[in-house]
């Protein structure tokens, strides 16, 4: 079953007077519960594709459908609801809310979803325990290491039971052993909760963990390999 389908997606940016065609007729579909790496050199369109799949950005043309929801028929508010309820994000630079503690950062998405505080707190603690951050609930991002912050970001991304987690170079700022630990956690979540993960990455280790690697070059799919 496909969780996301992209059909003939095009995206062009304007950098001053220069037009940059970031995606050129990309058509891809992603199976539910898959662990996919989008690889390719800088400027190949990985992050642009991830942003479009996550409804953070709009395609100029083409069709994207997530869990039966066609993006081109959705307004800004509906796209915000989709991000809130179906998509989890993990960013390269962690992007935690600096004034909130680890626990509050994880709780925040559930607050936006309108869950009662008791449930929020319990689920946030459970997921932080799962990613190995027991006893660090009250630490602010500045009091956590890069790896710990990224684990909080992963916890935040999956706590609301999204259909898909989009991770933009999640291991780029981490050393290899921390990155490996993080990938283990994400793989576990993928297997345990059947959450779909799509990564953009340069990191071979991420590609090793992925069960499918899609290579992008100059905004087009250059290769698409499924590991058996």
């Amino acid at each position: 079953m496909h969780i996301v389908e992209c059909v003939d997606v095009n995206k062009t940016y304007h950098q001053g007077k220069v037009k940059v065609q970031a995606l050129k007729g990309v058509s891809l579909s992603f199976e539910k519960g898959s662990f996919v790496a989008l690889a390719g050199p800088s400027g190949s369109g990985k992050t642009t594709l991830l942003n479009i799949i996550g409804a953070l950005d709009l395609a100029d043309s083409g069709r994207i459908v997530m869990d039966g929801n066609a993006f081109d028929k959705m307004n800004r508010s509906q796209r915000a609801d989709l991000r809130l309820n179906k998509v989890g994000f993990v960013f390269q630079s962690y992007n935690l809310i600096p004034v909130l503690s680890a626990l509050e950062n994880v709780e925040f998405v559930m607050l936006l979803q309108g869950l009662p505080s008791v449930e929020r707190r319990k689920r946030a603690k459970d997921i932080l325990d799962e990613v190995g951050l027991q006893g660090m609930y009250d630490r602010r991002p500045a009091e956590l290491s890069g790896g710990q912050q990224q684990r909080v970001a992963v916890a935040r991304a999956i706590v609301s039971n999204p259909s898909i987690v989009l991770a933009d170079e999640p291991t780029a700022n981490l050393d290899s052993s921390t990155g490996k630990g993080l990938l283990e956690i994400m793989k576990q979540m993928n297997e345990k909760k059947n959450v779909t993960f799509i990564f953009s990455t340069h990191d071979n280790m991420v590609m090793d963990y992925a069960d499918r690697v899609i290579y992008l070059r100059d905004g087009m799919v250059a290769d698409d390999r499924v590991k058996i």
Partner: protein, 418 residues
Amino acid sequence: MENVLSHEGPPMYLQMAWRNIWRNPRRTTIILLAIIIGVWNMIFLGALTRGMEAGMIKNGIATLTGNIQIHHKDYRNDPVIENSMTDPETVESAMEKILPQGAHRTGRVRVNAIASNARHSSGVTLVGIDPKREARVSFIGHAVKQGRYLMSKEMYGIVVGKALLDKFETKVGHKLVLMSQDTDREISSRAFRIVGVFRAEMAATEKQFVFVTLPAAQQMLKLDKGISEISIILPDQQDNGRVASALKDALPDDTYDINTWRDLLPILNAYLKLSDGFMFIWYLVVFIAMGFGIVNTTLMAVYERMKEFGLLKALGMKPWWIIREVLLESVLLLLMGMVIGNILSFLSVFALSGSGIDLSALAAGAEYVGISRILYPAIYAKDVAIANLVVFVLGLMVSIYPAAKAGRFTPVEALTHT
């Protein structure tokens, strides 16, 4: 979802807003200081202005005006002796019924006269008073600082102001001759002996008025029982209009003219209206200075956190929630500033409530517009409410721009902002 948020959300949103405003303590302190000084300035300077106005009204009322005056209908246009009230008993019985408990009243003769002694002469206003009643109505009862006050049946005693005494180079016990036109249109004069010297807030008052007893004035001017005016002091300022219209209803308007102090002191009344306008303009000027600070600070904070707003949007926060979050930060700042500003204003007013501000150095000029030598600040709930409302409502309005800016960033634009 909105409903659940409204029950569950606020504490965490509030916490977030509170922590966000303290992310840059120096900047927050500066903007807080701007709000505090603005609020303090509005309330405290407003209290000084109100204090000055209250002093002017008090002086105006006490300087032989009263809250309400009753005259012969032509007296105010032509204050000659012929335009006196010849039947004060009719008025007296009407007042008996209408005036509230605690009100005081007195009848007076008031005519223009010439005062002279061996060396000097000067135009004055001769005021014939009932010493006991007058003491409860105007300043003169407690203003005699040298010699003594008038006695009820005294026919030749006169009380003059210190400034006139100095001008005439005379002293208590010496004679002063008063000359005026009587009811027969003849010049009438009488020699009085100075029994007392009064002091007033204004030197002009000390030069203008001389006081004799009512019978002495009536006899000198051949007025019989006639009087020029009745002055009424009411226990509550708010009653002016109500009592005046009750008196108008009770007395024939082709014979009597009834006015409140606002009619009798038109310049003061106009000044008070003007002063309200100036206060509002002052509030706006202070606010504009403060408003720029608020916009600037909030805008700086918004641009600094642009990436964070992108993240919030990526997480599914809608633009309106982001606007609400930024506005909440402004509300917290405004409320903090207002609370501290109010406390400081009240403390400043309290500190000056005992001794006031001595304006003696300015009094020579200030007295001509009726400003008291000592200025006591007066806080009115209405002024405090307006100052706070101006700061809060306009503060919130100027915060809308940076808040809307934060709400407008697209997630990608904000997340890639460096």
